[in-house]
Symmetry: C2
Subunit: 448 residues, 2 copies
Amino acid sequence: MNPIKVGLLGIGTVGGGTFNVLRRNQEEIQSRAGRGIAITMVADLDTARAREVVGPGVEVVSDARAVIANPEIEIVVELIGGYGIAKALVLEAIAAGKHVVTANKALLAVHGTEIFEAAQKKGVIVAFEAAVAGGIPIIKALREGLTANRIQWIAGIINGTTNFILSEMRDKGLDFNVVLQEAQRLGYAEADPTFDIEGVDAAHKATLMSAIAFGIPVQFDKAYIEGITKLAATDIRYAEQLGYRIKLLGITKRREGEGVELRVHPTLVPAKRLIANVEGAMNAVVVNGDAVGTTLYYGKGAGSEPTASAVIADLVDVTRLATSDAAHRVPHLAFQPGSLRDVSVLPMDRIITSYYLRLRVKDEAGVLSQVTRILADSNISINAVLQREADEVAGTDAGAGEVTPDQTDLIILTHDTTEGTMNKALVLMEALPAVLGGVVRIRKEELA
Amino acid sequence: MNPIKVGLLGIGTVGGGTFNVLRRNQEEIQSRAGRGIAITMVADLDTARAREVVGPGVEVVSDARAVIANPEIEIVVELIGGYGIAKALVLEAIAAGKHVVTANKALLAVHGTEIFEAAQKKGVIVAFEAAVAGGIPIIKALREGLTANRIQWIAGIINGTTNFILSEMRDKGLDFNVVLQEAQRLGYAEADPTFDIEGVDAAHKATLMSAIAFGIPVQFDKAYIEGITKLAATDIRYAEQLGYRIKLLGITKRREGEGVELRVHPTLVPAKRLIANVEGAMNAVVVNGDAVGTTLYYGKGAGSEPTASAVIADLVDVTRLATSDAAHRVPHLAFQPGSLRDVSVLPMDRIITSYYLRLRVKDEAGVLSQVTRILADSNISINAVLQREADEVAGTDAGAGEVTPDQTDLIILTHDTTEGTMNKALVLMEALPAVLGGVVRIRKEELA
């Protein structure tokens, strides 16, 4: 089957990322979707830059309507942004019978009702995973993953710029204006940061989540919006002393029999909650449902490839719908059955990880040097050593055997090595006269 | 349209939860799915208990095959567990042309290849969101949300029993055996906890995630499995001193050109990672993709209604597929267009939240009493008060104006009230002669 043909409107940061990821992972994406997905036409006012990004073989035009008019294009990806021309183009694409994928939260939060109705009538899909929380599949979680639940409330860090600023204000005790300038210098805040710092962007996203959670039309005009520009470093510090952190949250709550709350404002959150520990430009959304309880979704909320991840997930969804019969839409194991690969699970001695080692040793000179020599000879580098003084350890040791006064514990963290290499080194260590009993070995992962 | 008819095999903890949530939220679920979903037949060896759960109007039988043989049943939910009779019944249901929803990780991790092939041939769906991480929609995230990505690795806390035990060992400095007994007493561990504490349950789930992430067949027999039974409290303490926590992780990693790693074992994780702060019986899965970067999914990994949440999400998925044409399968705003409800967004003075208040006050007797009197008269209860000594505050205050020696800051945390009530109280406070300037008010959410 020929690839499904996609036209891109706007090839800036997210458009470029979408093009690159789709090309880089095309084989893997095709075997998930059951059909190739190809961007064959791109519209951008800056055609020279667009040609540079896409290279030969992709038609570049300056007129977005030429993409919509092309009968071969089945899906239009709108990445222009804003309420103006983007609205006209999305409605024209729908009228032309194209499916639409968009990252445009402003457009959908304000004109979603009109756009979804048009799509509904025409029998096409408007997909917008990328519009909320970038690469985090939160729209899918809300719309498909939690369908059993009466959603009670949603609270999210859904603007990376403001979370970066708040994290810096807290870490460095600096005031808003100082940190904003730093954020602009580092590229975390735009030259005109109004939509971010005044909470408008977060309110667009909260509006969309509110509609999906509660089955209500988008009502951006009724959202309460308060940004972070007036937040003082003093209050961040006092909040900390009381066990709280301050985050800009988009919040929507069901108020049984009354209505819903929809608001964006700086919010104190208990420091022990996971969401209070979401730092820098990261996003996270907490969803509370009556059956599932509290769930949380965390990841990058912006940026070229994280947002592209969501755009392409929508492209795969649309392709699966357009290509497969109902029962085969989503393959059981994610990849189409014919394309399951025969990749072997590696035997344990070939896995790579780092290690925590605890050795009970005689408290005498030279032990550390003997042990580290074995590691060096095995090409295992050491990350940290913790040597307990004998009198700190003696007699204290629940679960690790009584420690006599002439013994101590030697703890070593290593860098990555194979399990096979480590096993050989452990045999050598355990053969040392100064090493008493077996070495405790626990694997370590940085998960960065 | 008549409701889609579902037959339940086994009505224990998860089955009972599924029945109850489906009934409680039937209206909401129907307007998401586009069609009612009704459990009309239940098979359980204990028919008396089953009848008690489902009440009149639902047929209860002791023979699961009677459910499979019923031509009216379109979806069979298998909640028996294990590899034995469950395998035969799932294959028979598939052969009878039924879609199958199951929470049985053991069955799929071991016999998934055979079962998925049978379903593929017959054109039916085998859905298993509930098999991994309970209510967290992680299968959907991996299979549909992250389709753009080459998944690099997955690391998950996917067994609540062991995470509860490890959390208790760390918090209380107790040894494994002591905590296990406590966990059994509290119902967090089963009478025979072998599958949990030896890592087998986590390995079943890691096997399924590995297959979905990398497009490979299920290979449970090749997984490395090490439980937590030999973990000493000592090592948890040493790890802590080095900046790490110990978690039982299910890990699977792509090793380009070599194969994949698939392993379950106690693992040191940097204490600052979100997953290191997942406590008690909660689950969390970290997924790293080449485009999206690191994402995390958190929630309850077990229990009656959280698991039911995943079972019902699968029922809705199957119902949407069986009921809707492709373009309308997942409604744009999650609920079918005809059923959007006209619920109003509440005006800001009707929202309910708690507050952080900071008052710059004259450092003189009676101020606190005047302020708290206003709150009491407004029926706003106080959660905490932080009164700074004048000399602690004087001159220090970046961003909140210079503090003179005869002034101080009074910080108050309140319990829930309406914004309207708070606004009125603020007017009264700001009218007090001892209160200097405006009161800083930041909203607070417990998000529990």
